[in-house]
Symmetry: C2
Subunit: 362 residues, 2 copies
């Protein structure tokens, strides 16, 4: 029997996270920012990147990866670009700071491109691209990360899951694309492991350089950096694995190379080599009338939605729609959290000497 998640009120969860991050030592402003990013993930249904990461961030602070009092700063800039040194501050604080620079430059000059070095895990990529989209701009956000993805024909993890997020204003729902350039997110392997289900051939490679079937092969392989997940498209060129591999190299270039930061294969556990990001904001008025462009986009996306369906399918989802529906449901009915995670949160509250403040069902 599957364990039922408990629905937790979003405001209570928000308050809990803010109070916890303040106890971790963050300023009020930074605690607000970090919480906002985590709650966006919780509300959009990206449960692996939401408040359940509280513990992960605490460990990263203890290890010295994250410096709670540090702030990012501009290392180099032009009217349309910047290099930000994250200064090993919290990834969400760095990410928001850098995307706001991109937005400001786009509003003044039509475009803003910002690359970032020495940051940390920044949560969901699309939080930042949506910041631009909310201002009527096209938003792009990418990050490298801990090495988990192997090159096509390789077995050593050399890239992160390296997500690419692109947000473009649209009605009735903004287009919001946010995908790992690996064939699947690492969280999906963990889920299969918990459920005791084998992996489909094509998700990853084992220590021997062959198809990984046992989820633990990937989990251990990533922990010890001996093997990992395949890029989008799988293990070979038959289904385009070299395409996902290329997308993930491009993310490394825009994040780690342009910023003179560390590529994913060097994001070592020693706390020195940080994570790198890339942000871009583009004003559609660079190409004419933004309203007319949006209207043309709306028409096309509706044509795609309305087009004929595959066997036994009744709906074509445009990127961002599933998330928008989950967002509304979770605002109305609460964020589903597993009992074990809630227990961890309650213990965390005790350790931090703060009120738990989350109402559990009778």
């Amino acid at each position: 029997m599957e364990i039922q998640a408990i629905r937790v009120n979003a405001d209570e969860l928000t308050s809990f996270c803010k109070r916890a991050f303040k106890k971790y030592g963050f300023s009020d402003k930074d605690a607000d920012t970090i919480t906002d990013v985590l709650l966006a993930a919780d509300l959009y249904g990206v449960d692996t990147h939401g408040s359940q990461r509280l513990e992960m961030y605490r460990k990263q602070i203890q290890k010295g990866f994250i410096h709670v009092e540090n702030q990012p700063k501009i290392a180099f800039e032009t009217p349309i670009s910047a290099v930000v040194d994250g200064n090993r501050a919290m990834g969400q604080v760095v990410g928001k700071y850098a995307m706001e620079i991109a937005i400001e430059k786009a509003k003044k000059s039509g475009i803003g491109l910002v690359t970032v070095r020495n940051s940390n895990h920044y949560g969901i990529a699309s939080y930042y691209s949506k910041l631009a989209c909310n201002e009527g701009l096209i938003g792009v956000s990418m990050t490298n990360s801990f090495p988990v993805v192997v090159p096509t024909f390789g077995k050593h993890p050399m890239m992160g899951t390296n997500p690419i997020a692109v947000s473009i204003p649209a009605d009735p729902v903004d287009f919001n694309f946010d995908v790992a350039t690996s064939v699947v997110a690492y969280g999906k392997v963990e889920v299969r492991n918990k459920k005791g289900i084998e992996l489909p051939v094509g998700w990853g490679i084992n220590d021997e350089g062959k198809d990984a079937i046992n989820p633990m092969d990937i989990i251990n392989g990533i922990a010890y950096r001996t093997c990992g997940l395949h890029p989008l498209g799988g293990s070979s060129e038959l289904f385009g694995g070299h395409k996902g591999f290329g997308f993930s190299l491009i993310v490394e270039f825009l994040t780690a190379i342009l910023s003179n930061g560390f590529t994913s294969n060097h994001s070592e556990d020693d706390g020195i080599a940080g994570i790198c990001h890339y942000f871009m904001a583009i004003d559609p008025n660079l190409f004419g009338d933004a309203e007319q462009i949006k209207s043309h986009w709306n028409t096309y996306l509706q044509e795609v939605r309305d087009s004929e369906k595959a066997y036994q399918q009744d709906r074509i989802y445009i990127h961002g729609e599933k998330e928008a529906e989950k967002h509304q449901d979770r605002l109305d009915n609460g964020v589903p959290i597993l009992p074990k995670t809630l227990e961890e949160m309650e213990n965390l509250a005790k350790q931090l000497d703060m009120e738990f403040g989350i109402t559990l069902p009778e």
Copy 2:
């Protein structure tokens, strides 16, 4: 027994193409441009996009899609962007014109973004991104096309194969990524059809909305617009089909939506609705020192090449390496052309009342 291709001298092939395009009615300059793009494909080993397309272009001229005397023009511009109206000129002529605008703007302002409407088939995407790369810039090139790709959970083709090309200066070989956002290029289905081999599950969908196994299901489905190829990642979300779908929608946005042109599903056979492109050139000096960035990139790519290999694999290819090796081989030993294609070319020469000029083996 497989039919052996005949190696044709590249200079002779170049001369043949130039003379043919002049006979089609193109100016000397335009014939040179078109030939240069086709020969790049021939030399890089992208045989489906090279001189064997002579006949396809002739048909498109006859149908009135391509207007041989037309020239593209700027419809709207800012210091960092432009919208180009292709004016239904030959795609290669439009593409080179638009990318040169992007390069010029990048040299002056750091970046150039150019979207294009009312064009035609422009050949290989990376020809244009390499133009920027040859100038030390980061080059991006995309195009929409005839509808052949279905949305995730859909069966009606709503997108083109919508390639994305990204070229970034590197030593010893420039990084040169050029991939369709479909799971495979359409040409691979044609090859399987000729060889009488079934399609692997995940390449495409048939008229009934189920997995296409017979190559003819895809070939007919595309001709009659009833079904088509899946996006990169395949038919479902299990291997990330929604990711390829999203990439192909982004290509539609940058090409057809930003330019106020026609999306792939409207690129009708009536000759009115043209193909749309997108080009971008970025000066790496926007982020510091271009030489230092290139050196950092070289180091990382070499680390990837040198990393451990999968079972029975002895080499990891960085994007552009295979093409560079083929380029050298074909310059030295000739471009392989199938006897049937050579026969078509010989007939074409007769029809156009021009010398064949290609030396065949004894």
